[in-house]
């Protein structure tokens, strides 16, 4: 009877000790370790042996394991952080290289007079798009997932950019409706938690939203301009649909983020 009480007490203390493991290790093996401890205690109890020495040895042995696993976890996290730092630096430099295009163009093309603030905003857009690609695409190794992310980001960036420019040039605030396509994409990506099947649906929804806006929103433009706008809408719809098909391919490959 006294051994039963001691066994229960040791199991409670052991469960508390297991909480000191790093969370991923604890979630994976915590239940099994507690069960194994229970099995070992029961074996000793059934053999009529005391539990104190056994519990002391296992507590010490597990404590050594806790130190080792936490050390491994910290080393991995540090490595991950340094990789993230390298990625950020590469994207920042890449965005700077791309920024050279409008920077040089503003010097040689007549009428291209961007204020300094516009260059800063463009750089933030380039950097943001690049970081979004780097962080999302690393979620999965499948080429179709990476290609889907690239096409979606480029199309989304181009749509957002052209909407802002055309709204500013034409003075038609109703054209900001096109930004709702990006809102659909952002909400869909969050709901899908970046998993390929959900992203496929999201990109198809973006293509459908854009097609609907193109049909519903009166352009008020002359026929020549309206035809060019229709072609532009068609290109974006094709890009979003292509990206959706790539995500669909990635989901059929049976891959999930993190693998």
């Amino acid at each position: 009877m006294a051994t039963n009480v001691a066994g229960r007490r040791y199991r409670t203390w052991y469960a508390m000790l297991l909480r000191l493991y790093p969370r991923p290790f604890r979630e994976r093996f915590g239940e099994g370790m507690a069960q194994t401890f229970h099995d070992v205690c029961r074996e000793h109890r059934d053999a009529g042996r005391g539990l104190f020495g056994l519990a002391l040895w296992i507590f010490f042995e597990t404590s050594v394991g806790i130190v080792r696993e936490n050390t491994t976890h910290i080393v991995r996290e540090t490595t991950h952080m340094s990789q993230l730092g390298k990625t950020t630096l590469r994207v920042a430099l890449g965005a700077l290289v791309v920024l050279m295009v409008p920077l040089v163009a503003s010097q040689v093309v007549e009428g291209w007079n961007w204020p300094p603030g516009a260059f800063v905003r463009v750089y933030v857009l380039f950097f943001g798009t690049g970081m979004a690609y780097a962080l999302i695409a690393r979620k999965m190794g499948a080429w179709s997932y990476k290609a889907g992310v690239a096409v979606a980001l480029v199309a989304g960036f181009a749509l957002g950019w052209s909407t802002m420019v055309q709204t500013a040039d034409s003075g038609h605030p109703e054209r900001l409706w096109y930004l709702s396509v990006l809102v659909v994409g952002f909400i869909g990506a969050c709901l899908a938690r970046l998993k390929a099947p959900g992203l496929a649906v999201t990109l198809f929804a973006m293509a459908a939203t854009l097609a609907l806006i193109a049909v519903m929103l009166p352009s008020g433009a002359p026929p020549d301009m309206a035809r060019r706008m229709a072609i532009g809408h068609g290109v974006f719809v094709v890009l979003f649909t292509t990206s959706g098909l790539m995500f669909r391919h990635a989901s059929f490959a049976g891959c999930r983020p993190g693998r």
């Binding site: 994976r28 093996f29 099994g32 069960q35 194994t36 099995d39 296992i58 042995e61 597990t62 394991g65």
Partner: protein, 115 residues
């Protein structure tokens, strides 16, 4: 995670005993612990910390994997997670045994010449 090529590297005693214990079939944590103890005639005693720490690294290296969760008919009615060897794990065990055989052959040859 990338699977490491552990087939050529010498294995730690804990990893070797876990591979040996699983070489005859699936076992849960306590079953592995008891089998390792029996295989070593009581000389290897692993606690849960060493056992599950080693198994975590072996799973990352692709040597073993979780099989399923079920009740052990010889124990209580609690469901336990079972583990099994992978092909890489079996290859690592065979490579280690081959290495042991080589060491034993060299040692026996030296001792025979020494006498």
């Amino acid at each position: 995670m990338a699977k490491k090529n552990t087939a050529q590297a010498p294995l730690t005693p804990a990893v070797l005993h876990i591979l040996l214990a699983l070489s005859t079939g699936e076992r849960h944590g306590y079953g592995i612990m008891k089998q390792a103890e029996a295989d070593s005639q009581g000389r290897t005693k692993m606690g849960p910390g060493t056992l599950y720490g080693s198994m975590g690294r072996m799973m990352e290296s692709g040597l073993i994997r979780e099989s399923d969760k079920r009740v052990d008919p010889e124990m209580d009615d609690e469901r336990r997670i079972y583990y099994e060897l992978t092909d890489a794990g079996r290859a690592a065990l065979e490579a280690e045994l081959k290495r042991y055989r080589g060491v034993v052959a060299v040692a026996e040859g030296r001792l025979a010449h020494g006498h």
